[in-house]
């Protein structure tokens, strides 16, 4: 086996891992802040991708503006859903949030299948990112390099915003003790709406990044979210940094499995999940409660 194949799969793994990281990060933000297990995270990823496709095909708005607009639109959808539906289940057990978001996923995905059918639609790679770099041992398409750089940057920007800024300080306080935080004059319900919108926007951002690589289809998120779920379970629920690290590394593990034992590639993450659950049920970085 050549180094070229190995490196090629590491890159593919990093790209997949970038999407795992972005999606499980949004998942962690939402679960940490709201206690909602957001199964619809993959649907918002699909919305982000479709948003950019529609902006291009209906309004002639290209990739770069879409990279900002489409996550904002997805985030706005998230804000409306939080206000009208999600906020009603905070006081109930986790299972209700899961069922509600599952229902949302079926509903939104169903509408898109009805309108657009399930066939994938291509989205062009932006001109600036066509071509690639010959790194000697492998050829790296520019766009794929961009995806990894952009998602790693966004992941750490999110981490920084939560750990090192005053907004993040308030978000952490609201996560830890929402009632007391309100008693200090902080509008926690508004923060929760914002947090949900931000988590959804992160998924939407991942969707725009994904559009030129994978084809844009109503089902693209439903497939991904199952893997993301496994990533979240392996890393431990609710931790920002673990979502990033676990997402990227499991992507690479998956890529390497393709080299060494191709039939196992689709299930290696689930095998790891199984082992982690046996040894450390709270996840690799999770704390037992």
């Amino acid at each position: 086996m050549s180094l070229e194949i190995l490196m090629g799969q590491v890159v593919v793994g990093l790209i997949n891992g970038s999407f795992y990281a972005l999606l499980s990060l949004g998942f962690a933000v939402i679960f940490g802040l709201l206690g909602i297990i957001n199964v619809a995270q993959g649907t918002f990823y699909m919305l982000g991708a479709f948003g950019s496709w529609m902006l291009l095909n209906y309004a002639g708005i290209g990739y770069w503006p879409a990279l900002i607009l489409s996550p904002l639109i997805a985030g706005a959808v998230g804000v409306v859903l939080e206000k009208t539906l999600i906020a009603r289940v905070y006081k109930l057990e986790h299972i209700y949030g899961l069922l509600l978001t599952y229902g949302l996923m079926m509903f939104i995905q169903g509408m898109f299948v009805y309108w657009f059918a399930t066939a994938g639609r291509p989205y062009p790679v932006p001109l600036e990112l066509r071509g690639g770099f010959d790194l000697g041992i492998l050829f790296l398409p520019k766009y794929r390099g961009w995806v990894v750089v952009a998602s790693v940057f966004f992941c750490f920007a999110t981490w920084f915003a939560i750990e090192k800024t005053s907004l993040g300080r308030t978000l952490r306080a609201a996560t830890e003790n929402p009632q007391l935080t309100r008693a200090f004059g902080i509008n926690v319900p508004a923060l929760l709406t914002f947090g949900f919108g931000a988590g959804v926007a992160l998924a939407g951002f991942a969707g725009v990044l994904a559009a030129p690589i994978y084809s844009v289809s109503p089902l693209m998120g439903g497939e991904l979210v199952i893997t993301v779920f496994a990533v979240v379970v392996v890393g431990g629920m609710g931790s920002i940094l673990s979502a990033i690290v676990t997402g990227l590394s499991l992507g690479v593990v998956e890529g390497l499995t393709k080299v060494f034992y191709p039939p196992g590639a689709n299930m290696v993450i689930f095998v790891i999940m199984f082992i982690v659950l046996l040894i450390k049920p709270a996840g690799l970085f999770g704390r037992e409660r």
Binding site: A173, Q179, T181, R182, A183, F184, I186, N187, P189
Partner: protein, 240 residues
């Protein structure tokens, strides 16, 4: 009654307050009144409803009815964040220090709700321990330091009415002394304080008046001047 209360600068006025904690009807018609600049305690045995009264004022109960008036504004239906914004600083019994925030972050968390809050530097002067430990995780502090932090946290915000719930509970005498100095300083500066306290000796030296609470109601009021002559009555109330 309410007119005269406005005239002598009533800061907090509670009338016929009922409050439910889950299914239990803890507050059964609490009425009390505090003038601007007063330090008033609520004393009484465990389970009388003292902590619940403070939580009700902050809007932290599931259900409450009656009237709570803060600076002349009815807040019985308001959410906690709106009540805090009127200039109310809350120091809960469990102290409520955030584990995910360090000491400085805990201090900086509550937004300003009024003019004239203390600067960080003044707070560190008042509680030097906090300066030394400002990078520590909030819950790594000792009990006494956590209490100082809980008080310091609301001193920064410019709140003028403070609800302090058992600030000396379980603390060493040296720390209790420091807490008392802080409260005396607050009193000198004209802050209004409603203090729930089991330690009557501590409360006695600070308060202008004492409300006695029993089974969810205020049953008596003892002025500072009467404390000495009424000590048998007080002891009976507290079950000492």
């Amino acid at each position: 009654m309410s007119d005269s209360a406005q005239q002598n600068g009533s800061c907090l006025k509670i009338a016929d307050l009922h409050g439910l904690y889950g299914d239990s009807h803890v507050l059964q018609g609490v009425s009390l009144q505090i003038a601007r600049g007063e330090v008033v305690t609520i004393i009484g045995r465990n389970g009388a409803g003292k902590t619940t009264t403070l939580r009700a004022i902050m809007g932290l109960l599931d259900k409450r009815s009656g009237s709570i008036n803060v600076w002349g504004r009815e807040v019985i239906a308001d959410p906690p964040e709106r009540i805090a914004k009127l200039g109310v600083g809350y120091v809960p019994e469990e102290r409520g220090i955030y584990a995910t925030l360090d000491v400085t972050e805990n201090l900086l968390l509550p937004p300003r709700v009024g003019e004239g809050g203390m600067a960080l530097e003044e707070i560190f002067k008042l509680f030097p321990n906090l300066r030394e430990r400002r990078r520590s995780q909030g819950t790594r502090l000792s009990g006494g330091e956590q209490q100082m932090l809980a008080i310091a946290r609301v001193l920064r915000t410019g709140a003028r009415l403070f609800l302090l719930d058992e600030p000396t509970e379980g603390l060493a005498p040296v720390i209790v002394q420091q807490i008392r100095q802080a409260i005396e300083l607050m009193k000198q500066d004209g802050y209004t304080i409603l203090l729930v306290e089991q330690n009557f000796r501590f409360a006695q030296r600070l308060a202008d008046r004492h409300y006695v609470m029993e089974r969810g109601r205020i049953v008596d009021m003892i002025a500072r001047a009467d404390v000495a002559s009424q000590s048998a009555r007080i002891q009976a109330y507290l079950g000492i």
